[in-house]
């Protein structure tokens, strides 16, 4: 199975972007940090293999770890996205509640 972690993260972030509106920075900033950190790790990993500090077997094993680390990133971004959705939904409910209360006061 071909799984491109960068592509999945980009698609995920793109899908979130369409839905979070003004809260986009809350998602974009950590996503950028995740991408930058992975880039740094992959560069170091390649360096360690080239300099023979690690074996091919360990290199492969660490590449597998990258999938788990990416999964952790997706979970973190999922929490941020849900938090934004929760905040927006509750803000809408608050407005509705206030409107009903105002209408009630007017009626009285």
């Amino acid at each position: 199975m071909n799984f491109d972690i960068n592509e999945v993260l980009f698609q995920m972030v793109g899908a979130i972007k369409q839905n979070v509106g003004e809260n986009w920075d809350e998602v974009r900033n950590p996503a950028n940090v995740f991408l930058q950190n992975r880039k740094e790790r992959l560069a170091l990993l390649a360096e360690l293999l080239i300099s023979k500090e690690i074996t091919q077997e360990r290199f492969d094993s660490r590449m597998e770890d990258e999938k788990l680390i990416a999964e952790a990133h997706f979970h973190a971004i999922a929490v941020i996205s849900k938090a934004i959705a929760q905040r927006a939904a509750n803000a809408a409910i608050d407005i509705f509640q206030k409107a009903v209360k105002t209408a009630l006061n007017v009626a009285n």
Binding site: E22, N23, E26, P30, V33, F34, N37, R38, E40, R41, L44, L45, E47, L48, S51, E53, I54, R58, R62, D65, L68, I69, E71, A72, H73, H75, A76, I77, A78, V79, I80, K82, A83, I84, A85, Q86, R87, A88, A89, N90, A91, I93, D94, F96, Q97, V100, K101, L104, A107
Partner: protein, 156 residues
């Protein structure tokens, strides 16, 4: 008489509506817990200190980086990771943070086992382990930040 009954019914419907919507909140993420955030930060710091000490104060020559030299440090940090995982598991709606905790513990144990089997560890691998752990703890902090964000009303 009919008008009075109509007004009373209308008022009761209104009242019911208010009661039903007051206190009604959507909850998608668990409430923010400052203590967990503090524990994440302190454990992350402990891991940084563990790896930096390993890299700076020891070398692989003459068994300076043998597993035995660091066994206690590995155990202490694993205890913290287990504690964090348990705290996350008991919180409702907390599957995302729980999974991040599981991944962190799994990789911590894996790297510990590698050190145990090799009974040595090169600088490059220490750096790599440190970067991986640092990123996982950043993911934990972002998840906690999300919980904090959910509780703050949006800025107008």
């Amino acid at each position: 008489m009919k008008i009075t009954t109509f007004n009373r019914s209308f008022f009761l419907i209104y009242l019911g509506l208010i009661i039903s919507i007051s206190g009604c909140k959507i909850t998608l993420v668990p409430s923010y817990d400052a203590q967990i955030k503090e524990q994440i930060e302190s454990t992350s710091k402990e891991i940084d200190r563990f790896y930096l000490t390993m890299m700076d104060k020891t070398t692989n020559s003459e068994g300076g980086r043998s597993y035995e030299q660091f066994r206690e440090g590995y155990i202490n940090i694993e205890v913290e990771l287990l504690s964090l995982l348990k705290k996350n598991r008991v919180r409702p709606l907390n599957t995302h943070s729980t999974r991040i905790g599981e991944i962190t513990l799994e990789l911590w144990r894996k790297y510990k086992q590698e050190h145990k089997e090799d009974n040595a560890i090169p600088d490059g691998l220490i750096k790599l382990n440190m970067l991986a752990m640092s990123d996982l703890f950043y993911a934990m902090l972002i998840a906690e930040k999300g919980k904090e964000l959910a509780e703050n009303p949006p800025a107008n």
